[in-house]
Amino acid sequence: MLRVRDLHARVEQQEILKGVDLEVKAGEVHAVMGPNGSGKSTLAQVLAGKEDYEVTAGSLELEGEDLQEMAPEERAHAGLFLAFQYPVEIPGVGNSYFLKAAVNANRKARGESELDAMDFLKLLRERATLVDVDEALLRRPVNDGFSGGEKKRNEILQMAVLEPRLAVLDETDSGLDIDALKTVAAGVNALRAENRAFVVITHYQRLLNYIVPDHVHVLLDGRIVRSGGSELAHELEEKGYAGFDGARAGA
């Protein structure tokens, strides 16, 4: 589904990604772990197509299509979803209004008929229940005045409503207490499906107790230095990233 090859990217003249390879198949959950500054969030932003990030070499393909040729909204239409590390506030715009606009923009782009208010409300309620989000959240402006936990849950709700092919979760666990973490993880698990893949980006192993990945990758200084199964996350938890310095030197 997702194929990243020898990806180099920079922001403001500084090279952050120095040759990342990543292949994700439908139905899989991949975890990308790494310390601060290793390039995790850059990878997420580059996948979503944020302008400030310049790809200098390598390729990015989603379902065989070249992502670099696509605008951010086109990537969304193609089924790419990014759960933001810092969800953005949009004062005055109702959460459910925003989601309806998003759903219909995607449907329109895919040549499907737009949902009317009733059908959308039905979908929204069903998904809110699935990922355990309080309906009161739907009536408030997008992320405006939300607590950290509410913002992250709202990202998961949006994911549930938009039904992406590939969901990238950028440090969705950061700043969450254990209860919120469990809710978010349960939401993700509820959305796991054969035709859907996840890339879960995280600093800590903690989240991976609840979202069990099929593959774990360690990102250090802009390169994936090791890949393995879910046991790799536990190894990291014990040794810390320092233990992988040698691997980097060898790479």
């Binding site: 979503a48 197509g49 944020k50 302008e51 605008a71 951010p72 909204e73 990537r75 969304a76 239409h77 979803f81 990014l82 933001f84 969800p87 953005v88 506030e89 949009i90 004062p91 005055g92 715009v93 925003f98 989601l99 606009a101 998003a102 759903v103 923009a105 995607n106 782009a109 402006p141 949006q158 938009l162």
Partner: protein
Amino acid sequence: MPTATDTIEALAERDYEYGFVTDVEQDTAPPGLSEEIIAFISAKKNEPQWLLDWRLAAYRGWLKMAEPTWANVRYEPIDYQSICYYAAPKSDDDRPKSLDEIDPEILATYEKLGIPLKEQEMLAGVAVDAVFDSVSVATTFREKLAELGVIFCSFSEAVQDHPELVRKYLGTVVPRRDNFFAALNSAVFSDGSFVYIPKGVRCPMELSTYFRINAMNTGQFERTLIIAEEGSYVSYLEGCTAPMRDENQLHAAVVELIAHEDAQIKYSTVQNWYPGDKEGVGGIYNFVTKRGLCEGRRSKISWTQVETGSAVTWKYPSCILRGDDSVGEFYSVALSNNRQQADTGTKMVHVGKRTSSTIISKGISAGEGQNTYRGSVRILRSAEDARNFSQCDSMLIGDRCGAHTFPYIDVANPSAQMEHEASTSKIGEDQIFYCNQRGIDTEDAVSMIVNGFCKEVFRELPMEFAVEAQKLLEVSLEGSVG
């Protein structure tokens, strides 16, 4: 009511008094401003002597006044002697015969706003039957109002049919020498609306200039007077979301509102005069004086405006809160795109006890637009326990535009409670990217973010107007984010 004899006598007298013979066959006055021209306008409109005297007094005051320069706007000096101050409405022969003769760019905008064909023709001034359809609609509408004793007519008609009301109230809220542009308007005003709501009547429909078909082509020096008697209510809509072309570059309107005890006036404006091209060439200068007097106890005046048009806007709808417990409100969205400049805000003057005022201002700047909020809140000594809440938010789109805020607060009674909030935000690339990532394209994202920003003002507008206003912002902002 003046009899025909009175009128003839007045005319005869006038000619004598000013030694000026009016050529009534002439449709357009020569350019320039003089006492003769004012007498010509007044004669054309068959006005009583007192009104001509009133105009002349305004003119003499205006001659001694200087054009204000304190506003944060720049424009070429206006040559007041090159302006034509009276032109009769165009005859059908001079008007475009069909929409084919109208600038395609304007037609494209009509399309975007979803304006029906018949209305497009009317707005573009096409000489067709559509206008007659509207006349009959307007007539039915007026008959309904007349049953309730509501008077809704053009200012000129009011001068003929209700001179006692016009004479009693004209200039009582905006004195004829109030300011440079108000004085000019008082001297040469062309036409406008007149509304009178009798005691205890709640006007059952929104009064809109749209229904006052004879209001076309009177935009240049418009004069509006609205009187709400004790316990009455009226909601008045001014303007139109469609872009209005006008050959006259200078617009100087005056609006006066009077609310008696327990009366309420809600005045909503959507202003979309031609803003000029991208370089700012040819746009309208809109210099307006709007003021409401809360004369009686518990009266309320509420101004809501959406200003998207004109090259230069200079406008401060204000309230004088004279009656005890009276309420003044100002809700504003002002957008300046390309080379537009807007200096707008309000004045709230608290005179009576326990008077309260609310100011919500949303300024949006895009392109190279400059947007200024200028507001003054004055609490006089007599205004025991007065309250004001002001909120002024500015939004910047792009990095070549500007937002400026000048709040003036003057409190002479220590019991006053004042709150002032202000914010400036830049439409974030982060916000746009967030929307993009959810599948929403940039143009839709901007209009969504801007509409969210303006929500507190839009919800004060009557329903259909609010929908149109949103659409209008969308169209006005097209291409502002690239």
